[in-house]
Symmetry: C2
Subunit: 514 residues, 2 copies
């Protein structure tokens, strides 16, 4: 068996069976091996940022890593912005990175670059698999490393000469590491502290934002009256009818500080306390009041959902919180579209079990608020601020969950970074409906200019933030990638077109003119 | 004067007046300052790879750096593949990279990443400009660093807090470093060696491939009968009618070795000896015969063109080589398009003074050969193997030379990496004609699979190299970016459409079905 075949068989044995690929010459053995390992589904992306964004979206929904197949330093460089997002989302991922034969690298061929530096900064685990006989074991190690709770990026650099060799066979998969159990003493100590606490907030992260964690958090709320919070940029939260509503920590420091004012006890479940996305002159970096008590119930590597249930028990909470009151949906919107009515329109037509992928940037706060009372859904956001995650992320989520419709709410400026993933949606027949917020602007830049006191930027500054003078034609862009597209500028038309797109198999794009 | 204004005024004083920009929040002071420094032309690119690819194309034609404006680590990551190409082309470039305020970084906000690692590997010079009073001087240093012959990438990391401060004013530009003169003794020694040499080849790199260097090389050829060679991936060569023809070193090792077989003396002008792009089992890394004598006439940092002239003098060559015989153009092609007829068609309609940008990959060898006898033109190639350089590179070349038509001969798979640069061409009204080699394949992968003995890859391997099942619609993609497009599949139609596109101002795209 050749080494590349042993690689994929080892991955398959470890439960990793999807590979988002953009190969080059040095990955030929791996490309060719796919014909001999049908357990692995290779999915072509026309840009590497599409591979890693898809692997991230996949991992958030599947709860396990996908592979990516990347070509040398240049390929990893192109993949890096979405590796950054995946790192911030704590998504597991296994990158296979082809490289020159070891004996050729000292000649510094043109494609050579500092691959260790390029792959190193975003990966928690990197290894150069340069001995064929050990390579399958390297893959098993990488799979284990990626699955370290809550999820990590593992990168395996694969020189071409090792891949061509014959080896004995695949390696056995290692058992996946489990999240760590939170000690009872930690739970008890926090329960004691909360009994006398005045204003408690739970900040939930990671898997604690799925059903079991949310129900446990609702029990704690029932007995303490605490608030339930999640991060501004939440990797995944399950929400909608029947699940407790979770407030997002606001984006801007003044809003974040106002939101957390008066909190006396902040319970951290799966992460650290909220920090501003950007630093602004005269504004604080942290949002929680200085005198608020911080309680670390679970670190990222801990089982946060179980810790929440244990805390609820320790507090003597009822076994189940009473049924959640459904937040009231705004009435069906009509007329010209705004960020507000975009969210309302989606809330009205969102089917049970949908996956909402949110890279709407300035549209995000109203979108999250408007969909709180919608049918049950999973909601995924860009996490690291490296725009160009949405279309790839939606692609990966759809691969993970072929039976759940995916609706990608996508800012236009951000969407342009990785629009090539539309093609992968078309080729794979994925059920993704992309809704473009077509404001022909980097709206966030205008907002930030205004915050910096520049309400009326001059024409030269404006030209770097606004492209109304030369609007994009997203319907044509979609068509170019093989995705049917339509343009709307009214809320009622948007609702109709979303419903229609979801009813038809395969991808669709709706350009919503704002 | 605020610090950002002093930054651009210093750059302008150093002769750097174009800025390819994709800004985010941390670059607001720079965006805003552009309104106060009209000497700087800000050009919006919708993806960072478009910024750095354009700056590279600009530098190759203008002979001086452009700036790029990039947003934090994520922005530099997206820009990196084309930074790699620029590094391999030895193009000067000045990157301005916005970052968080220094006091906010320790809180590790989500956008934080290892910016020093991300910017470091491709840049020859990196500095963190965190003291406002010194920042203008940092810019002057960066401009000088970028201009170190033959050209380097200089990256300045600019924390937001420094940029908002008031400063005294811009810094004085430093004189640009000049290429170093090659010592007379070196020239004399090589002249002596060549007098008795049997089969001499000159390998020309860098500025030696422009008119003065080429004419000096032709003088040497006239007296020694030597061959004139350039690299497979040549950053820029001026060629066509009236200039001596220069052979490209072939791509594959077996061809490279065959091409250099029998060479007794290899004169290196501006670089090192030829090395295979990839290493293949059983094939050598270096092309030149082991017993061939290597003579380093000029290092990259030396004045290669002057050294060639001195060598010609030392050899007693005639003051000017006799007029070059024009290589004969193939007759005008007709019928269905192939890589061969694509090149012939271009050769027939190429106007005097055109700039040909070649990222046609598998189309490149026939393109270069077919255009040898065309009208005088500059020919630019992707240099580092990081595909996605062509459309941005053509954009930058057109900014540098608004009066010269640019024709981008573009492979489809590679073009998809950075197609967003079409929009910049439309907005800026650039005279670029993009000709897409629409074979709906990563043809090079098929070639490499065949070289690896896999003539008939299975369906799963093929699916990662071939997308005929879901062809791209480049006319729609062009339209989506605001560029008029047309589709052709015959050579006579291609010639007509190229001529028409060149005659009309602004960008055009021609999808050539292969």
């Amino acid at each position: 068996m050749d080494c590349a075949e042993s690689l994929f068989k080892t991955a398959a044995a470890a439960g990793i069976d999807v590979c988002f690929a953009n190969a080059g010459t040095s990955e030929m053995p791996m490309v060719s091996a796919l014909d001999r390992v049908p357990a692995i589904r290779g999915i072509l992306c026309l840009f590497e940022g599409g591979c890693t964004g898809a692997a991230d979206g996949y991992a958030r929904m599947a709860g396990r890593p996908a592979m990516t197949l990347l070509h040398a330093g240049a390929g990893v460089a192109n993949a890096s912005a979405n590796l950054h997002n995946a790192r911030r989302a704590r998504s597991p991922m296994l990158n296979l990175i082809g490289d020159q034969p070891t004996w050729h690298r000292p000649f510094d061929p043109l494609l050579n670059s500092d691959l260790d530096a390029i792959a190193g900064w975003s990966s928690a685990w990197v290894r150069r698999a340069d001995v064929a006989a050990r390579l399958a074991a390297d893959v098993a190690d990488a799979a284990e490393a990626a699955q370290q709770a809550p999820g990590r990026i593992a990168s395996l650099i694969l020189p071409l000469d090792a891949l061509w060799e014959d080896v004995a066979g695949p390696a056995n998969a290692k058992p996946y590491p489990r999240p760590l159990a939170v000690p009872g003493a930690t739970v008890e100590a926090i329960a004691r502290a909360l009994r006398g606490a005045k204003r408690v907030a739970l900040l939930l992260r990671g898997p604690a934002l799925q059903e079991a964690g949310l129900r446990a958090a609702a029990r704690i709320r029932a007995i303490t009256g605490c608030r339930l919070l999640c991060d501004t940029f939440v990797p995944r939260i399950d929400r909608g009818a029947g699940l407790p509503a979770v407030e997002k920590v606001p984006y801007f420091p003044e809003d974040g500080v106002a939101s957390l004012a008066g909190v006396t006890d902040l319970v951290l479940v799966g992460g650290t306390e909220p920090v501003a996305f950007f630093g602004y002159p005269g504004q604080p970096s942290q949002f929680a009041p200085a005198d608020c008590r911080r309680h670390v119930l679970a670190r990222p590597e801990d089982d946060g959902a179980a810790a929440l249930a244990a805390l609820a028990d320790a507090l003597g909470a009822p076994a189940a919180a009473k049924a959640e009151a459904l937040p009231v949906l705004a009435k069906a919107p009509a007329g010209r579209l705004t960020n507000q009515t975009m969210g309302e329109a989606l809330a009205h037509v969102l089917p049970e079990g949908a996956i909402v992928v949110d890279e709407s940037i300035t549209g995000s706060a109203p979108l999250y608020a408007a969909t709180a009372g919608a049918a049950r859904h999973s909601y995924l956001m860009i996490t690291g601020g490296a725009i160009g995650w949405g279309i790839p992320g939606a692609t990966g989520a759809a691969v993970a969950c072929p039976d759940r419709p995916v609706i990608a709410m996508q800012a236009d400026g951000s969407g342009m970074y990785t629009l090539q993933s539309l093609w992968t949606q078309a080729r794979e027949g994925l059920n993704v409906t992309t809704v473009i917020y077509a404001n022909n602007t980097y709206e966030i830049i205008k907002v930030e200019l205004a915050r910096a006191g520049i309400d009326k930027p001059g024409p030269r500054a404006s030209a770097l933030a606004d492209f109304h003078d030369r609007p994009l034609d997203w319907v044509a862009l979609a068509q170019g990638h093989g995705v049917p597209g339509v343009r709307v500028d009214r809320a009622e038309d948007l609702m109709r077109e979303i419903a229609k797109a979801i009813a038809e198999p395969g991808p669709h794009l709706i350009e919503a003119i704002l």
